[in-house]
Amino acid sequence: MSVVAQVVKKFINDPDNVVPEALAGVAAAHPGLVRVDLENQLVLRADAPVQGKVGLVSGGGSGHEPLHGGFVGTGMLDAACAGAVFTSPVPDQMGAATRAVDGGAGVLHLVKNYTGDVLNFRMAAELAEDEGIEVQSVVLDDDVAVQDSLYTAGRRGVGATVLAEKIAGARAESGGSLAQVADAARKVNDRAGSFGVALTSCATPASGSPIFDLGPDEIEVGVGIHGEPGRRREKHASAHDITEMMLDPILEDLKPASGSSVLAFVNGLGGTPLIELYLLFNEVNRQLGDRGISIGRSLVGNYITSLEMAGASITLLVLDDELTALWDAPVKTAALRWGA
């Protein structure tokens, strides 16, 4: 795990300005969809606050794009707070986002379970409540690679975040109360599990060199989305075997009944070509089929990334009619769009 001196080249001007410049690009690229508060580093739904609708706020460190800013729009998030690369935003940003999307029906904070994100969002929620805005928080912790325990930081929030933002967003759009929207997000978290594998590391703009180095035939198994090493290092293996390595712990955690229908989400960590993600999806489809589980809905692509890391994660969400309907509901964001 030594820090290698290798250089990762990037399209940037100044490492300290990457996030604001990218946000200005988001504003220029999606004028009808979102507006950007550059001072607070927020991507806001163009028509926020929507009166009478529960506001959905998420956020986290940058470098996971399209998460979260790419999911702001009708039927999904009302606001996304962008921190520095891989660093949780600060409570001031979350507070500004909360105020900006408060349409009188309360605001839900969707928080990935990392100490930094949880603490900063908690502080923001306390401040917002002091200002008279009703806030609830749902913490997402779907990464089954990490053992859960009362005495640890617990599991990470990864792929299920995308699904929770979509599904809770649909619930809010359809007029759900703050409690109902929070319930929808919690339901996703309860019924989803994820597992990630990295083939390479990645480099933050500030450091410019990879966080860890891997041999030509090694992979990191059980990684999150911050370029960190995983639970263990293994020999590189076939797509079939790696898929099995990922599916086994997810299924062990979720224990879906045979005959279950799942949403299967094969997510690229940033540097893996789409052709490989579809190849992995084919493996997922076959291996789930062998276990009597069918894929009811699917998502394949780079949705929650770790800069240019080559790797992939699999998320399974055990569907029911409610979740399926909320998934299918129209969504209009930069990164996920259908029915609108």
């Binding site: 795990m1 520095a84 100490t115 990490v146 500030a206 090493p229």
Partner: protein, 222 residues
């Protein structure tokens, strides 16, 4: 730095507290890459830039403060600045620490050793309350808790504040080194499980730097 120029020989004034924070900022900026490297091994390679960004903002804030601002209010302002500029885990934790310390001092113009102990104990309590880390979890608490314990012990045994701060710094560094063999149970390093063993915790390392800055601030003659 006016720490030792007061009538009460062992008491710190606002300038001394500000000097401590500036000294901490300088030390952290100097060790930025090292802190980031430690975080790269078991975290996400941002602890150096997080702390540097936050303490640089604290220095700007200190410049803006009224000359008459009492030590407690200096610490609260610094804590608030950290909360607003750092993000990550260390922002709320260090922000809370300094705010709690500041609140413990109230509006007093001078910080006597007993008050310094109370302030730092409040700081550690704030970190533990917020982050729920126990000693041995491989976090900044493993440097801070022994440091505060050593400070109290030294002051209670009659040491002058300079010597007590030196004892606190030594305890912090020892605590920092003691994180190496620990298995992380909090923060990002916990995701690594057994693989976190053998690496020094970045947050404990910056905590030791901050305690070393305290020693320098209370003993400008050294």
């Amino acid at each position: 730095m006016g720490g030792m120029t007061s009538a009460a020989p062992d008491a710190l004034d606002a300038a001394a507290v500000a000097g401590w924070l500036r000294g901490a900022s300088a030390a952290i900026a100097e060790q930025r890459d090292y802190l980031t490297q430690l975080d790269a091994a078991i975290g996400d390679a941002d602890h150096g830039s997080n702390m540097t960004r936050g303490f640089a903002a604290v220095e700007v804030k200190l410049d803006e403060l009224d000359g008459g601002t009492p030590p407690g209010k200096v610490l609260i302002a610094a804590g608030q600045t950290l909360v607003s500029t750092v993000g990550g885990a260390s922002g709320p934790l260090w922000g809370t620490a300094l705010r709690r310390a500041g609140r413990a001092l109230g509006d007093a113009e001078w910080v006597e050793p007993a008050q310094l102990i109370a302030a730092l104990e409040a700081a550690v309590a704030g970190v533990v309350e917020l982050g729920a880390a126990q000693p041995g979890d491989k976090t900044m608490v493993d440097a801070l808790q022994p440091a505060v314990d050593a400070l109290r012990a030294a002051v209670e045994s009659g040491s002058p504040v300079g010597e007590a701060a030196a004892a606190a710094r030594e305890a912090a560094e020892e605590g920092m080194r003691a994180t190496v063999p620990m298995l992380a149970r909090k923060g990002r390093a916990s995701y690594l499980g057994e693989r976190s063993i053998g690496h020094q915790d970045p947050g404990a390392t910056s905590a030791a730097l901050i305690m070393a800055a305290l020693e320098r601030a209370v003993s400008p003659g050294r």
